[in-house]
């Protein structure tokens, strides 16, 4: 890209001074700004929107030892804030944003993440979401390791935290937009002192659709100094944006100090610098040969998934499609502006936060506007694209944009729309039932209209926004479809829509999705390749070990404010030759980098093994939290059959050769003697039994009872046998 290129976007800053003058300050709080020492400020800020009270909370050594930070702090504060009977829209529900001790270092890729925790409206258990953008680091550099928001405001408000002046205000903001691409731009410009200060402001916002659905997301902004526009990253999963809007929050604004490379006051800056430069050099040397993250980001795997028959196509019925190349990296490399350091925090040489620039919208209230679209990522291309039979990249981009600006999770929206389209295919839905929307496969325009209805709070969009779990019940109750069949084809677990990988042919990934704390999201374990393609974990015990190690290891990113991608979307050049295959999958040299980062920041020497221990404390605590909220037992760890095997004749026939061979090899049955229906039934019996065996092996490895409850011994081993935790599990032992 030409360094002097001027990007042409529709701008929304014309009246911002008048808008700001219309704000009314409802409450104000003065605090002493501080910078972290060895990664921690040792305090958090609690805001009650109902009483307009501000409280600083101390974070002591015990809290840091047990929960580390980030998702750990979020879960601990949520535990303290709510009761077993709390509902997501009760005032005591808490939204916690916590960045973690490593967050904010600038030398290592992926180190600016915030973790957001709340009681999810879609699962009624805790949700945690990992998000980029500058809010978390700037919150930390203002003086707080976490921000908690409880209570509900009486009218729409913004919270402005100024870490330079040491002031927090709760203000009305009646004129600014709810929709994030506008809100982020307006608030960023209102609270920056001048152009150079724009990058020291970050905004958290949602959008018009979040209040009319259970799948609202949060957008975390950062100012892009080359494009001269605010960019958005999403805390997508589990409906956090819905809780945010239920509390009548329009936006959170943080204004922090100018960022420098040592603002965490790390114990050993040189140790962090060495790890960072090494990783930057690996990106320089190998990214083009490995994943191509700097050019196409996570979309590099669309084609890979398609070629391994793992891409979700038409509500996860199929794993590949002839038109998939239209939405693979060959398209995105042209759509994404190349040559910009697209990191969502400083120092991310992986730079996967790509954007489609000067995109002219074709639908909705912003039709004709020229915008930057943040993404699409793989999940959006697969979920809103192939999973809906949509292979026109322009519809995928448009859907991505409106999901973000309206505050909707693209993953849930993609899985929901795929489900609706299959219901249409099978006559469960029709034009009369959808209010006239033609939800046939591939109808990008209908998908967008569904989204606009969600934003307007009307029509079939309101039903779609309830998510797959509730739609199954609604459609069955209306007599439109059979509940058992809807359950088979509705890709959700614990109420959360599954993310966008086909797990049918990988037993370990079925566990990777459905033996999770928050619901089927791949951030806990992505073991499809290890299991299905490379056959590295053949036994139940092997799979259980993988479903112990990887969820624990990956939890650690969320405790520290890190991104998972620089762990294994780039590898040292000799990773595969130096290590045995299963060790190579752990990328040992990068795990050592994380040891160096944690010890380098905090001064607390840890080992690779300690990483797993730190994570397991929080992981087991979260499992008990699920139990406390009424889930967290075996019956909630069951996948819909579509995630395990072929539900329909068409699915069976699309992979007949594979399935027939499995009948012979696995069950010693001659397929030629059976009808397709009989073969489907035989597979189902085999696959469901096999999943239960996996469940038992995983529970054993995780130290849980046969019903999936952590044993007292497990709690003790992890040092989380606090009375109120023990009390929850005691009656289940």
């Amino acid at each position: 890209m030409d360094e002097n290129k001027v990007f042409e976007y529709t701008r929304y800053t014309q009246d911002i001074e008048a808008m700001k003058a219309a704000h009314q300050v409802l409450a104000e709080y003065a605090f002493t700004p501080s910078l972290p020492q060895k990664g921690y400020n040792n305090r958090s800020l609690h805001i009650d929107l109902g009483t307009l009270k501000f409280t600083e909370k101390k974070i002591d050594e015990a809290m840091k030892q047990t929960f580390t930070g980030g998702r750990g702090f979020g879960l601990k504060y949520l535990w303290d804030a709510i009761k077993p009977g709390t509902k997501w829209n009760d005032p005591e529900n808490d939204i916690i944003i916590s960045p973690g001790p490593i967050c904010g270092i600038t030398q290592y890729p992926g180190a600016g993440k915030s973790l957001v925790v709340t009681l999810s409206p879609i699962t009624n258990i805790p949700i945690d979401s990992n998000v980029g953008g500058y809010f978390g680091p700037l919150l930390k550099f203002s003086g707080f390791d976490a921000l908690e928001i409880q209570g509900k405001a009486k009218e729409d408000v913004i919270i402005v935290l100024d870490g330079v002046k040491g002031k927090v205000t709760i203000e009305t903001a009646p004129q600014e937009s709810l929709d994030s691409h506008i809100a982020a731009e307006q608030f960023t410009h209102q609270y920056a002192a001048d152009e150079a200060d724009l990058r020291n402001v970050s905004v958290v916002s949602s959008g018009a659709a979040a209040a009319h659905s259970l799948i609202g997301c949060l957008n975390f902004s950062y100012y892009d100094v080359r494009r001269k526009v605010t960019r958005l990253k999403q805390a997508g999963r589990g409906g956090i944006g819905t809780v945010f809007r239920d509390k009548k929050i329009k936006a959170l604004v943080v204004h922090g100090p100018q960022v420098k490379g040592d603002m965490n006051h790390p114990a050993d800056l040189g140790r962090i610098q060495r790890a960072g430069v090494k990783l930057h050099r690996e990106m320089h040397d190998f990214d083009d040969k490995m994943c191509g993250m700097r050019k196409v980001g996570t979309t590099n795997i669309v084609g890979v998934m398609n070629s391994y028959d793992l891409l979700p196509v038409m509500n996860f019925q199929y794993g590949s499609h002839a038109d998939a190349p239209k939405i693979d990296k060959t398209t995105w490399i042209k759509q994404f502006t190349q040559g910009i350091p697209d990191g969502c925090w400083y120092g991310c040489s992986m730079a996967c936060a790509h954007g489609v620039d000067e995109f002219a919208l074709r639908t909705g209230p912003y039709k004709g506007h020229k915008v930057v679209v943040d993404g699409p990522e793989y999940e959006t291309a697969a979920g809103c694209g192939s999973n809906c039979g949509i292979f026109d990249p322009l519809w995928v981009i448009e859907c991505n944009f409106y999901c973000d600006t309206y505050g909707i999770d693209t993953i849930s929206f993609g899985t929901i729309t795929g489900f609706i389209m299959e219901c249409w295919q099978r006559g469960i839905l029709n034009a009369e039932r959808t209010g006239g929307l033609d939800m046939s496969w591939g109808k990008g325009e209908s998908q967008l209209e569904l989204m606009h209805q969600m934003a307007r709070g009307e029509g079939f969009g309101l039903i779609a926004g309830q998510g797959v779990q509730r739609m199954k019940r609604i459609f069955a109750d209306k007599g439109w479809g059979d509940f058992a069949f809807l359950t088979d084809i509705g890709l959700e677990g614990k109420g959360l829509e599954q993310s966008e990988y086909m797990s049918k042919e990988s037993l370990a990934q079925q566990g990777g999705y459905y033996l999770t704390n928050k619901g089927p999201q791949h951030d806990e374990a992505w073991v499809i390749f290890m299991d299905m393609v490379n056959n590295q974990i053949p036994t139940f015990e092997d799979k259980a070990e993988a479903l112990y190690y990887f969820p624990m290891f990956r939890t650690w990113f969320g405790l520290n404010g890190l991104c998972k991608l620089p762990w294994n979307d780039i590898e040292p050049g000799d990773n595969r030759t130096k290590n045995a295959p299963m060790d190579a999958a752990k990328v040992p040299e990068h795990v050592q980098n994380y040891v160096d980062l944690f010890s380098g920041v905090t001064g607390r020497e840890i080992t690779k093994e300690e990483i797993i221990k730190m994570s397991e404390r929080v992981y087991q605590f979260q499992r008990v939290f699920d139990l406390r909220m009424g889930k967290g037992v075996r019956k909630y760890d069951q996948p819909p059959y579509r995630a395990m095997g072929p539900v329909t004749k068409e699915e069976y026939e699309s992979r007949q050769e594979r399935y027939d061979k499995q009948l012979k090899d696995w069950m010693n049955i001659d397929p030629s003697t059976k009808s397709t229906e009989e073969k489907i039934a035989l597979h189902r019996k085999y696959r469901e039994d096999r999943y239960q065996k996996l469940v038992e092996a995983v529970y054993k490895r995780r130290g849980w009872t046969a019903d999936g409850v952590p044993t007292l011994e497990t709690l003790k081993r992890n040092g989380i046998d606090f009375p109120e935790v023990v009390e929850v599990v005691a009656k289940h032992q």
Binding site: M1, M283, G343
Partner: protein, 127 residues
């Protein structure tokens, strides 16, 4: 474009350049804080220093790197966030970092080392 031209064949490994550079910019004789680095490889000397190619400029996330009027790539320390991506992405590994220093550093073709080289292995040149 102004740059420090090196003639490694003339270098005898005196390393006066390293001392001058670190003294000029960091008031120390510590060679690890020198933008120019001399290394002995197989009985010969290699001189590593920025050639002002500018490949680091688009790598910087905050536009802290730019060319001055003479074409020399300069780092604006006020803007720099110390991410060191420029260090990892330098094609000649001539952008430097040091644990005492928050920001990276590089040769700015000031020429201070030129006059101190007894072998006349260094000169300020135009490209």
């Amino acid at each position: 474009m102004k740059y420090l031209k090196t003639s490694p064949a003339k270098c005898q490994g005196v390393r006066a350049c390293e001392k001058t550079c670190s003294q000029t910019f960091f008031k120390t004789g510590d060679p690890s804080k020198s933008a120019i680095q001399v290394k002995e490889v197989g009985g010969k000397f290699e001189i590593n220093v920025c050639n002002q190619c500018g490949e680091c400029i688009p790598i910087c996330p905050v536009k802290a790197l730019s060319r001055n009027k003479l074409g020399v790539v300069m780092l604006d320390k006020k803007l720099c966030v110390g991410c060191l991506m420029c260090v990892g992405y330098c094609p000649t590994l001539s952008m430097r970092t040091h644990p005492d220093l928050r920001e990276p550093f590089k040769c700015v073709a000031c020429g201070a080392c030129v006059k101190d080289c007894p072998e006349k292995a260094l000169e300020i040149a135009e490209r």
